[in-house]
């Protein structure tokens, strides 16, 4: 349910220019692509791994559009990758990913903070120093207390229901619940010895806390202006832009924040004067307007609709405006070991062998618009990724019927069995996946009954609720997951750690409860050497695959279009989308 793409390393062009021009970088806005060769000539994938149409030209109104709303514009209440991408326009978190194309974006740099955090106490205490001269949109200075308040309010999952849980899980809260529930109390896990220093105290050591510091939950919120669930209507800006108007579910406008000081912000160029965001427009219409040039970006970042796809791929002019970025997202189907006969590993193996992965890929849109056929969990963009071959579905990926039948024999179901498959009703690609699996598994006698559930409740009440899933014999559950940030922990922790499973529902881990895996996770979390850690995550990937509780489908890719007026377009690998903050207008 949560589409989080937290992977971003921002910086790069902006950083380079900022540093070289040393404050008020007004190197004349000639953006001749001289040095970068044909960086201005449109070509397919011109924005992947490099910057397309680099520019410093300021001005203009950037028009964004998206067909369905995301959870919230409140930085403490949001879990969508596109939101984490967009939110950097009007908020600044402690750290951020470098704003550059390619793998450089895996590196974190300081945003509100001068640099990365300093750890002490064996990785249980983390200290950040804020920059000088930071101000909110109304001119009041930003202090460490504002960051503390922001993190504390984000703990209140009863009010701000959408955001991530990392602070709830890792901070040493000693029973503190947040500024609404524990009124008047001080957050014992966060200290602010002075206005520019903030100290986080954790329950258990975590070596990569800088990733937590990157979360929008650390974007400062002035306590006096916190309006709870209404805060999303006008979050107080700490970034280069602020809200001018907001119409829930329909549109909002951002204009320049006069109190943002470029000198304090080496990561942002802030080129456009204004951003107009339209929500709820018809998806096909967005594609048409994108092609025509009235919108510059489809915020969803998941690519053009099928109707536009053939147009884009068939027309050389349009194809030259398209990119095919990958992202840290896996579309997969959980195989529930609590539902007979899938409690027998051989029956689960039969499912893995029999599934036709080319159809799975087709369901999501084919090799370009859907993605690469996945052989295991970790997507290629995650460091430590390896292509494994555990219970392979044949050489051509169309399913190994013989091996499947063999496995069925071994688990005592030689003529197959019946079970239910769940998917989210409003997602046509998941429906197609369901039909594809029904066909391919049917070849060996595994009969699937397809059940659709509403997306909003899928995790809370159905597939993600063990009592429902097991009681209603949901043997297979179609789902997908994107990394919170691009490393093993950021991708896997929420979907394979059995300790995250709650009986009350809302789980993202649908089928993995392997104690050995939990132990391996703890080891990897404590490992301080990055290379060793990546290897350990790959080993965890293998172990989960061997348990046959996850059928990986596709490592997601999309075919996205660049707007006709957009400059500085590049795919920020942290999000797997165009960097919405770096773009400008011609």
């Amino acid at each position: 349910m949560k589409r989080r793409l937290v992977v971003g390393v921002a910086a790069g062009v902006a950083l380079a220019l900022g540093l070289s021009a040393c404050g008020g970088g007004t190197s004349s806005s000639n953006n001749q692509g001289g040095s970068s060769g044909n960086a201005n000539a449109p070509a397919f994938n011109a924005a992947v791994g490099k910057v397309f149409n680099p520019s410093d030209k300021k001005g203009g109104t950037m028009k964004f559009a998206i067909s369905s709303d995301w959870d919230s514009t409140d930085p403490g209440d949001t879990y969508y990758g596109l939101s984490w991408n967009l939110v950097r326009l009007y908020t600044r978190a402690l750290t951020m990913f470098k704003v550059v194309p390619g793998t450089g974006s895996q590196e974190l740099v300081g945003d509100l903070a001068e640099g990365l955090g300093e750890s002490s106490n064996g990785g249980k205490t983390w200290t950040y120093k804020l920059r000088q001269g930071l101000k909110f949109e109304d001119g009041t200075p930003i202090t460490a207390k504002d960051v503390e308040y922001a993190v504390s309010r984000s703990l209140e999952k009863g009010t701000l229901v959408n955001g991530p849980f990392y602070f709830n899980d890792f901070l040493d809260l000693k029973g503190y619940k947040g500024p609404y529930s524990s009124k008047g109390q001080d957050n014992p896990a966060i200290d602010t010895p002075d206005d520019h220093t903030i100290v986080f105290k954790l329950k258990k050591a975590y070596g990569s806390f800088d990733y937590f510091a990157m979360l929008p939950s650390t974007a400062p919120v002035p306590q006096g202006k916190d309006t709870g669930v209404k805060y999303k209507e006008h979050p107080v800006s700490s970034g280069p832009y602020m809200f001018q108007s907001y119409s829930a579910g329909k549109a909002f406008t951002l204009v320049r924040n006069p109190n943002w000081d470029q000198a304090t912000d080496p990561n942002r160029k802030a080129l456009p004067d204004q951003y107009d965001v339209t929500i709820g427009a018809n998806a096909d219409d967005i594609d048409n307007q994108l092609i025509a040039g009235s919108y510059q970006v489809d915020l969803a970042g998941t690519g053009v609709q099928p109707a536009a796809l053939s147009r884009v791929l068939g027309d050389p002019n349009l194809k030259a405006r398209a990119d095919n970025p990958g992202s840290a997202r896996l579309w997969y189907t959980a195989i529930n070991p609590e539902v007979a006969p899938l409690n027998n590993i051989e029956c689960r193996k039969a499912v893995m062998f029999a599934a036709d992965k080319t159809l799975y890929q087709q369901a999501y849109g084919g090799p370009l618009a859907g993605g690469e056929i996945a052989s295991n969990l970790l997507p290629p963009i995650i460091p430590g990724h390896q292509k494994l071959s555990v219970y392979p579905p044949g050489q051509d990926n169309k399913g190994d019927v013989a091996a499947a039948k063999d496995a069925l024999q071994k688990c005592g179901q030689p003529s197959g069995f019946s079970t239910n498959l769940s998917y989210r009703a409003e997602r046509p690609k998941e429906k197609a996946t369901a039909e594809a699996l029904q066909q391919s598994l049917g070849r060996v006698g595994i009969k699937l009954t397809l059940k659709a559930f509403p997306t909003g409740d899928y995790l809370a009440l159905y597939a993600g609720k063990p009592s429902y899933a097991n009681g209603n014999k949901l043997g297979l559950m179609v789902y997908g997951w994107a990394a919170d940030w691009n490393d093993g922990f950021g991708f896997l922790s929420q979907i394979i750690d059995s300790r995250t499973i709650r009986a009350s529902g809302g789980n993202s881990n649908l089928s993995v409860h392997v104690p050995e895996v939990d132990k391996m996770i703890d080891q990897a979390v404590a490992e301080t050497d990055a290379d060793k850690r990546n290897q350990q995550w790959s080993a965890i990937d293998k172990r989960v695959m061997e348990e046959a509780v996850v059928l990986p489908g596709v490592w997601a890719k999309s075919v996205t279009l660049r707007g006709t007026q957009a400059t500085n377009v590049f795919v920020n690998e942290a999000f797997g989308q165009y960097d919405y903050m770096a773009m400008g207008l011609q």
């Binding site: 959408n162 609404y180 709870g228 669930v229 709650r502």
Partner: protein, 337 residues
């Protein structure tokens, strides 16, 4: 006359009450039929970390464990007096008339309804005018030229018109006229009339025509049938015998009599349409009441659906009332009988 009006008013209010009770009852039962319980309903409202105590607290705070008549009574009260909803960590005020509070969207339903009402009214009234005029005109002409080529052609087209599924016609029109030729606005476009009347009409012209096509075909058939029946009556012959001009006979005597059932049905159709032209709004992605209802159903957000259903029923009842009153004005037998 006064007693007639009062009786009708009371009837209308009673109908609304019963409709609201049945609606509430069904929407109370639906989640429970789907396997939900007070706890699972509350879970949705308190987010993912909910431990059992939090869920219980929410159940109590939202009153989800109260018997149905109490919940209904609270709901009725809130329509007149507003209500406060304790979500466990904050108190949300829902001002009167509070047709419900959506916990998924975290806002009262009524302002959303008001927001979307202009879209649906624009759609309904625009199309209504088009279909009434075109349908009646064609029907009258057909009746007068009965058996002629025009009559046969018109009725043939009309028969086709009532047989077309609107979601099919709508999409095909969109593909041809909006995406293909670019003559009309694409799906989802809507500009409020106060912002730009020209653009407002441009955005709605395709939905109007598509919707009107269906209805005008039906009205043409109805009008023709009604006119034929009326024109065969004795009083028409008398009027002609009296020496009145043909067009006076047709319009003043024939049309007037034939139109009364048309007007009744028109009132009802518009009333129903105001409740949300669900298929049209879905097809054209118009942000009206119908689409709001669908979004609510899809998200399992019952307060939204209840709000729309009640508003829709309200419109139908009002339309019925107006039509009845008009009938009484036109036909004295009705108010005495």
């Amino acid at each position: 006359m006064l007693t007639f009006i009062i009786r009708r008013l009371i009837g209308a209010v009673l109908t609304l009450l019963v409709v609201s009770m049945i609606t509430f009852g069904i929407f109370y039962l639906i989640p429970r039929w789907a396997g939900g319980s007070a706890e699972s309903l509350a879970t949705r409202y308190v987010g993912r970390t909910a431990n059992p105590e939090q869920v219980q607290a929410a159940v109590k705070a939202l009153g989800l464990d109260q018997p149905i008549y109490l919940q209904y009574w609270n709901w009725v009260k809130s329509i007149f007096a507003g209500a406060d909803f304790n979500t466990g960590t904050s108190i949300e005020h829902c001002p009167a008339p509070c047709l419900g509070y959506s916990f998924i969207g975290r806002n009262p339903v009524w302002p959303d309804l008001l927001d979307r009402l202009p879209v649906t009214t624009s759609l309904a009234f625009g199309a209504a005018i088009i279909w009434l005029i075109s349908g009646v005109a064609i029907g009258v002409l057909s009746a007068l030229r009965r058996g002629s080529f025009f009559d046969r052609a018109a009725m043939g087209v009309a028969l086709g018109g009532v047989s077309l599924p609107i979601f099919w016609t709508g999409i095909i029109c969109l593909v041809i006229f909006s995406y293909g030729l670019g003559w009309t606005a694409p799906g989802g476009a809507y500009t409020p009339i106060e912002q730009n009347p020209g653009l407002w009409a441009y955005d709605l012209i395709l939905p109007w025509i598509t919707l009107a096509l269906l209805f005008s075909a039906a009205y043409a058939r109805l009008t023709r049938a009604g006119m034929l029946e009326t024109m065969g009556e004795d009083f028409i012959r008398t009027a002609r015998a009296k020496g009145l001009e043909e067009h006076t006979v047709v319009t003043r005597h024939g049309l007037r009599a034939a139109l009364t059932p048309i007007v009744t049905i028109f009132g009802l159709d518009v009333g129903l349409l105001l409740g949300g032209a669900i298929l049209t709004e879905s097809t054209f992605s118009l942000p009206g009441l119908g689409k709001y209802a669908i979004d609510g159903i899809v998200a399992n957000d019952m307060p939204k659906v209840m709000g729309v259903t009640l508003l829709a029923a309200f419109f139908v009842v009002i339309a019925n009332l107006i039509v009845d009153l008009l009938y009484a004005v036109i036909d004295p037998r009705v108010r005495l009988g």
